[in-house]
Symmetry: C2
Subunit: 350 residues, 2 copies
């Protein structure tokens, strides 16, 4: 197979971990006779520094004209504590999501047996948990009109949703549930928010097409509790953008390491693959960042293009790295292995 892949290493540890993902993909291409062409481009703080824009035109055009995007991480503390900065790295990511129409962010959450002890939760609570979060990614308060009055004393953010936006991601989530344990939980705040009530109504309507899937509802505050109290109850979780941001990060730490989890963002025409973790600037350049989430993002990319066998080899390589303790210090505090060594192990295994 021929694939053209846009690579956006981004900020902080992004470039280091993405390099390992590329190495895994090169190894796959060689062994299985594919042609993967990578083209790197700027996004995030690094793009602001070099071009003034967090998503340069060139990067966007590249992404619009490739088969898939592989993203590292973006964000830089020098922007976070400056509420009045006019240009911020995150704008690049949000614009990219919007322009590529990536309306669904999908995060599979499943702890690794060998790492169950590194979860902050008790073993009996987390063991056996296996669920997927569908987060709406191009709507809600992220993209609604924002205002700040001239005196800088009054601000607003508008959260908006349309039936269409809810319907398209609901179908994806129900289809996924059909291939899993056939349970879908919509998380919202329908006792307070009008948009949540629309979500409830539309999802109920969509559910009529999936009579084999059991639909239930959970308020977001309760969901934040249930994820910790009993994560095994979940199969597919569906929710709006901001709730998904919060809950999927909460969900990712209960597995023991956010350094292990990839996510896919899907649109009608495009797909983006990335590790869930952020740019972790403190670790930059130290060869300590965990590359597994990025490597698994690459595996999801292979899976997305129907290269199931190849994806499974990558999954297996990661599993072996963990079993043989070829992991970074976040998983094993006394580990001698760094970002590079873990990446080497995986690509050699392939």
């Amino acid at each position: 197979m021929n694939l053209k892949i846009a690579v956006l290493p981004g900020d902080g540890i992004g470039p280091e971990v993405i390099l390992q993902a590329k190495k895994a993909l090169y190894a796959i291409a060689e062994v299985y006779n594919h042609e993967f062409v990578f083209e790197d481009a700027l996004m995030g703080a690094v793009a602001i520094d070099k071009t003034g824009s967090p998503l340069p035109e060139q990067t966007l055009n590249l992404c619009l004209n490739t088969d898939a995007v592989l993203l590292g991480a973006i964000g830089d503390p020098k922007y976070d504590n400056n509420p009045s900065a006019k240009v911020r790295p995150e704008q690049g990511l949000l614009k990219l999501r919007k322009e590529l129409g990536l309306f669904a962010n999908i995060r599979p959450i499943k702890p690794y047996k060998a790492l169950i002890e590194s979860s902050p939760l008790k073993k009996e609570i987390i063991e056996g948990a296996d669920f997927t979060i569908f987060r709406e990614l191009t709507g809600g308060a992220y993209f609604g009109t924002k205002t700040l009055n001239e005196e800088g004393t009054h601000a607003s953010d508008l959260c908006e949703y349309t039936e269409e936006e809810i319907t398209r991601i609901a179908h994806l989530a129900f289809k996924s549930a059909q291939n899993r344990r056939k349970k879908l939980t919509l998380v919202d705040k329908a006792n307070v928010l009008e948009t949540s009530r629309l979500w409830r109504k539309v999802v109920q309507k969509v559910s009529e097409n999936y009579p084999d899937v059991k639909l239930d509802f959970l308020f977001v505050d309760n969901a934040a509790m249930q994820l910790i109290l009993n994560p095994k109850q979940f199969d597919v979780i569906l929710t709006e953008n901001l709730f998904g941001d919060i809950l999927s990060d909460e969900a990712s730490v209960i597995t023991g390491s956010i350094g292990l989890l990839p996510s896919v963002s899907l649109g009608e025409k495009h797909a983006l693959f990335e590790p869930i973790h952020g740019s972790y600037p403190q670790a930059k350049g130290k060869n300590i960042a965990n590359p597994i989430a990025s490597i698994l993002a690459a595996a999801l990319l292979l899976e997305h293009f129907g290269l199931t066998k190849e994806a499974n080899v990558v999954f297996l390589a990661v599993k072996k790295a963990i079993e043989f303790n070829v992991v970074t210090v976040d998983l094993k505090p006394d580990s001698k292995f760094g970002t590079n060594e873990v990446g080497e192990f995986v690509s050699n295994f392939i």
Copy 2:
């Protein structure tokens, strides 16, 4: 001391648990020679059923003219799954918060030593955690304009904040931090939301009055992770309404039982005390609901009026109930004690 207390038992287990809180307050009044006058009133689903309104005029007037409000819980599943219900129990609570000007909801989070094992988190993570969440309670998306178009296909919620709304709760939170470990963490989503950037700016400004308090910032998605990964890092958390709703519920379960936690809502003129847990309709009338959170809400009420000695007696009584295992099944699955027995133990101890 003479106190006139409005009691709103509400829905589900509300009446049962509030009864135990009243019993504790009666006992205190008798032993310490106070005069507490209670007046019960309707709010929530029960008020809709009887009057058509979730917060009848009479209830509101009572609350406006008493020294304090003691609330059980509100909410009923028959409204939750009906997104088009025009009248809902929660509207009563939101209106009450607004009319009484209860702009700050304060939730102390601290695990009980004797119950540390019942936390879903590992002991070493939760032991020693001790923090307080200040949640803004009368602003944000809860109270902004809501729209739904005629076809029912487009909905919106407006999240708004003013400098004034942020300033007043920030002062409360900083003062609390001064009496604690002198650390305040503002939780927001300043990389995306305009209102969050206003929060950051205003809180930075207010912080100049409290040079002894260390201020830091955390994005809400990261906060949802940090609460589980390392809750000990927190002292005072300050955040807006919706984030506070989610995070304070998440925080409450890490202690081992949400049945133990009370909260105070403060305004300039009024104060409301309630258990954190909801109306838990499945447990209604079964004598299994944990009354401790309500009893502790009563203790916070005493503390609020300067009755420190009396409050401490209630705290001690609760501690003893837990030590002697006079607790409900949520804390000890094989317990023979119910709501009433726990309440009896506490009021007898007083």
